[in-house]
Symmetry: C2
Subunit: 230 residues, 2 copies
């Protein structure tokens, strides 16, 4: 699949680029500057080895992908969406990975602020064309763990969205990453809860002096794969 990462030079975005490219997808890394995008793509190819399909470009160019992941800090999120809105194709899928951490306003990373629309994902939805399908995901998956290709992650990815097909498409991309599993967490408004979990993971990381707290939903073995539920 052709996927892109808007803000793909950051820790979360670059980690996602590596994992999605390793799984066999064609990944386009977007950045504010074409040069930075291209440099990140070269670094990804170096890490992953010769045959990997990763290229780099601007966020605007990257926004035309079939599935675009948006991994930017909350303080810049609305601006980024306004800058790409004319390039995102109706019917395409945008996966918002933003967490409204209080760091956006000089606060703590284990606190959150409340976006006016309820969640960062709903703020994205308010900016983009209504025909773009928004999915919210990856809030509990640390960028460092994504980049650490030597270690499989032991996590579920909570996926919110109001378009079941878009969620399943994103879910299939998640399931291609070894040992990650997707969980359908409900419609897009549930992102009001899942986005805050980044702050909770950071709080737990602080308490235990670790860096990779993440979440598994239990009871899973008895209820099967998420795809079987709809």
């Amino acid at each position: 699949m052709n996927v892109s990462i808007i803000g793909g030079t950051g820790s979360e975005g670059f980690g996602l680029a590596l994992r999605l490219a390793k799984a066999g997808n064609h990944v386009t890394i977007g950045s504010r500057s074409q040069e930075k995008g291209a440099a990140s793509a070269a670094e990804a190819r170096r890490i992953l080895g010769g045959q990997t399909a990763v290229d780099g470009t601007t966020n605007q160019e990257a926004a035309a992908a079939e599935v675009a992941f948006v991994t930017v800090p909350f303080e810049g999120q609305a601006e980024i969406y306004r800058s790409i809105k004319d390039r995102v194709r109706p019917g395409s899928i945008v996966v918002d990975c933003t967490s409204p951490l209080a760091t956006a306003v000089g606060g703590r990373a284990w606190h959150v602020v409340r976006p006016w629309h309820g969640s960062a994902a709903e703020q994205a939805k308010a900016i983009l064309d209504p025909a773009v399908r928004i999915v919210a995901a990856f809030h509990t998956i640390p960028g460092e763990s994504l980049q650490d290709l030597e270690h499989d992650m032991e996590s579920d990815v909570l996926v919110c969205g109001s378009d079941a097909e878009a969620k399943a498409t994103v879910g299939s991309l998640i399931d291609e990453i070894p040992n990650l599993r997707w969980v359908d967490a409900g419609d897009l408004t549930q992102a009001r809860i899942t986005e805050t979990l980044t702050a909770l993971m950071i709080s737990i990381n602080r308490r235990y002096k670790i860096r990779d707290a993440a979440i598994r939903i239990t009871g899973r073995d008895s209820w099967g794969s998420p795809g079987s539920s709809s």
Copy 2:
């Protein structure tokens, strides 16, 4: 340990009573009426067998325990706290298990409302004597799973509070329940996040037509037991 359950005749409270009594604690079940509390206690003794130390009384009497769990719906929470505040002893521990589900105002169980104080636990804190130590916990543990004594639960209990000793005491009670583990999720304000997870679990339950979605924090094997962190 002597523990009590305020609102102990409900599903979550009764389940907690069973698990804590089975682990060897003396459990007092509180209810609005002494008769209902006594009847629930008799039922708990019947389920657990002869030697079990469970008795029943009013919420007011139950509030004098060393550790009191409060398991009441959000719409009645403030009223319950006002009714017990003179009976809760300074220095004792109150474990608030309330989730501010939107059902409190006629809404959906997978939505939440925002308490004025930030969280239900902080609302409890605002009502009780400042010398009472408030801990927030058990928001992701379904009452049905607690009551199903044939099956061990496979979950972590996220524990929030600003008194480390109180959290550790509650944590030791949690660790006595087979296969539950406690996780120090931060200070009491983190309950603003953990309390909303009840709604998220309900959303996941709805999607997959299950009843027992719960949470494990991953990475745990490498960072050990919560007690070792402080």
